[in-house]
Symmetry: C2
Amino acid sequence: MLSPIQEYLKTLHARYASIMDGHVADYIPELSHADPRLFGICIATRDGHVYEVGDTQHSFTIQSVSKALAYGLALEDRGEEHVLARIGVEPSGEAFNAISLKVGTGAPFNPMINAGAIATCGQVLRKDGLSRIQRILGYLSGFAGRALDIDESIYRSESETGHRNRAIGWLLRNFDIIDEDPNDTLETYFQQCSIRVTCRDLAVMGATLANQGINPLTQKRAIAPEYVDNVLSVMATCGMYDWSGEWVYRVGLPAKSGVGGGILAVLPGQLGIGVFSPPLDMQGNSLRGIRVCTDLSHELALHMLNPAATPRSAVRLAYHGGEVVARRRLPPSAREKLRRYGARIQILALQGGLIFTTFEPVLRRAMQLADAGCLHIILDLRAVVSADAVSLRLIGELRGRLMKTGVRLVICQPGKLKTGLTEVGIPPSSIFATEDAALEVCEDTLLVEVTGVSWRPSGALPLEECALFSSCTPDDLSLLRRELTIRSYETGKFLIIAGEMADEMLVLLSGNVEVQIRGEGHNRQRVDVLTAGMTVGEMAFLDGSPRSADVVALDEVKCLVIPRPWFIALTETRPALKIALLNELTREISARLRQANVEIGALQRG
Amino acid sequence: MLSPIQEYLKTLHARYASIMDGHVADYIPELSHADPRLFGICIATRDGHVYEVGDTQHSFTIQSVSKALAYGLALEDRGEEHVLARIGVEPSGEAFNAISLKVGTGAPFNPMINAGAIATCGQVLRKDGLSRIQRILGYLSGFAGRALDIDESIYRSESETGHRNRAIGWLLRNFDIIDEDPNDTLETYFQQCSIRVTCRDLAVMGATLANQGINPLTQKRAIAPEYVDNVLSVMATCGMYDWSGEWVYRVGLPAKSGVGGGILAVLPGQLGIGVFSPPLDMQGNSLRGIRVCTDLSHELALHMLNPAATPRSAVRLAYHGGEVVARRRLPPSAREKLRRYGARIQILALQGGLIFTTFEPVLRRAMQLADAGCLHIILDLRAVVSADAVSLRLIGELRGRLMKTGVRLVICQPGKLKTGLTEVGIPPSSIFATEDAALEVCEDTLLVEVTGVSWRPSGALPLEECALFSSCTPDDLSLLRRELTIRSYETGKFLIIAGEMADEMLVLLSGNVEVQIRGEGHNRQRVDVLTAGMTVGEMAFLDGSPRSADVVALDEVKCLVIPRPWFIALTETRPALKIALLNELTREISARLRQANVEIGALQRG
């Protein structure tokens, strides 16, 4: 099916394809041969989907677009303060080839003008047996997600005619901004400008910057995360030369253009745009490129200062322990206690990226809950995709504060955030792999707080203490003892196997069992845990459907076996007992259905 | 409980409180009297929570901070192109009081330098019987969320000593940037600079800009949404004079400072910051203010180009019609069909703000589902908080494209987005108030597609076609007819009232009933709909608990009444019938519990 977005890009392409304003760069003959009709538009999303229309696979030289990316390499090689001492970050208000050097230091105003870009080349290290240009080529290839190469004839031409740039190189040498013979730096610069890219490459490079430096196609890191905002900053304030203020005002996307006809634009955190069209305007920017970026910004609402979709509270769902309980069977009395006191356990299910702005409301909410008397707060991080250092620190501080007022903060399903949480002081004993495990511990603690004793049965139960037999007469009980057998299972053995026919129902007399379903792959997911006194496998037994889950012994298990023929015969032989058993079964299943409906209500809220 | 964020701000305040560098502005005597120890820090969130520490309630004059906000008023009065023709948006690279006018036009470089700000004053209209300064004062009060006033002695002093600004005013008159005697404009400008604010006001003003122009305290609009990014753009590129590039690079927050000691900074879409401390640095910016903003940006990771939390796919949950069904009871055969074919109905539950970046993955997902053979796609907008024009347009286009391949797009719970959806071509018949209503229509259509007939019973059912009696013998049936009575209810009458004791259970013979619970306030929430052949009120009847919900007749209803004493007596009088009835009840409740567990699994996924 053709995407409406693809369709829109086709319309946008058609809007400008026939406009032949502007002039192809002609300062070297090789560039002047470019076909002015070539025109490509490409959008790459942060998750690696690429929309493209027109000549998006045509190769051309990257030219000044390379300045922004090579600046990232210089920062990685030398560190921010070292580079800032030699190359400024102020817009110069002058044209791209102006020799704008600061009075006194001789430092170029910014890395986007030629002087700054040549100085940047000079900061790139030779390393690991690689020359500067080899390292720059490798670095830019990381952004593109493929091995780039150099257009040798353009490079020779650039080198032969780059007199003004040579003058800049020697001036930089004069001010010790370049600290060796500048010729090697200059040749590196000419080669860097002659790297061949496509419109699609530019979009992917942009998406890499949008994606905190990880190439969305290869999933490999192209630039250290701490330098992404530096690169985007110089693109935002200096990327379009003396039109930068207006570019921010009208387009609002950090961008860089090149005289080869390329423009790379970035919506930070969201997407990358590549446009290719050789005819240039008076500032040396691709004429169709400027118009396409302006239209894209307006028509898709991409201005970086447009706050239409903004980080919100990370709370995805909030519910309490009276609504959602651990997947395990509790005796009716414990269930009733949880229904009544469960609000003392509060679960905040978080989502998205945790940063100051998304976590601050969580902090407020948690403190309100504590003030309102809750005793356990569970942060469920299952749907959290990232957490920055600030939010991790705040989680650690929140825990400390809550602890002072007797409230326990518990984390579940932290995934790869576990290490970070430990580092901010969350003890491993407060971190659980699943919400179930966290709930179980909080519920057990709460039940002891409320009742003074553990709800867990100790040792084997006599038949009359099993829920199913609670309304049996002494006569019924002796019949059960007489006619039914007791079976034992060792730890890890299967009491029930999914898919089999249900020809018996079991009553646990001692031990614990876990009900499991097979998830994706080979992992097994717990859906219930049952303890002594509870009935196992009654649903399939009653409605005649095959077993829907496995049941595994968690320890030594003893259970009473109720075979189907015996149960059927009961209608004739002892109807009152059968009615008593059916009554108990219905009551139990009804109670679970009520609980499930409460849980569905909580999960669908908000 | 003391918030860790409050605690952090106290630490930050203490870090700089004793540093006495810089000099209080002294170009007029009134400013030079300011106490250099005064120091306040304030953060206002987009939902109106204010963190403050230090002298946040102390009044001082707004000075140049007013330039950014008054620019918004000029844009609202005159429109973007009119203002841009008279005042540029390029950083000048010069100091705040430089007379930077463009060669030829005489237009000031930008509205943040004095020349541009005076020209901006000249663009503000006299209107509705109000003078310019009255309108500016009202406008800024909207940002602060309270009525601001003017410090008359500072104003007089500004006016008496503002010779350089008067020179600028006359130069602007000379170039026809100001088209009348400039004295009124100049007095307006001096008064504007003398408006009294607090540090807290600055933070709330910032939060208003962060919140798309709506003041988070008053919930009133302070600036038209289309001009918010214009104001933020000039703050970002020109707000800190000739230190703007470095400010973006190091701090990354659109900001404006004033010689009164105030700094207003904005993290677009997230929060506003106000800092107040009178001693200034060489550029005329509050010295402590610069340091506080730099630290806040680094320590709370607030750089606007830092993409740590970014808009993600709006899909909050995805499930299908075999997992989640409308809250109504279906006959077992229809339930089985839905279980098997329900995946042809796909529900995408969306969340957050819909913009290009968050909706684009939804579009892709929907097209994949259609390609995979689904026939109905429901977009549940319950948790969507906003949708921009771009995303609405894409929803409309998606519908058109899906329709061509025979797939129906249905929207539910659109809230205030309903009008916008209608405008992009979604017919009202495809928009539903609840997910239940949408699911119901899709399920009914799907069941007809699969079975060829409607599942709904037509007319009254004989007893033997009611589920509860499906295994009764002819003898049982005549007993039921003989011993039980039939009761009728008119439309709107209550069959069952929540809270009452359950002394009977009903079997619907004709008509439909709705099970409702009372939600917050007086609204009633549907939890189930039952049709002829189904049993009503059996759960409370069986377990002896009070009724948990009301049951209301949706049309003329006839039902068979099963009184508790009769049912109890059945154990003695006709045990086989009682066992048959209990078996059916257990089977039905078990089936619903299974369905509920599938639904919980779907809702807890992801």
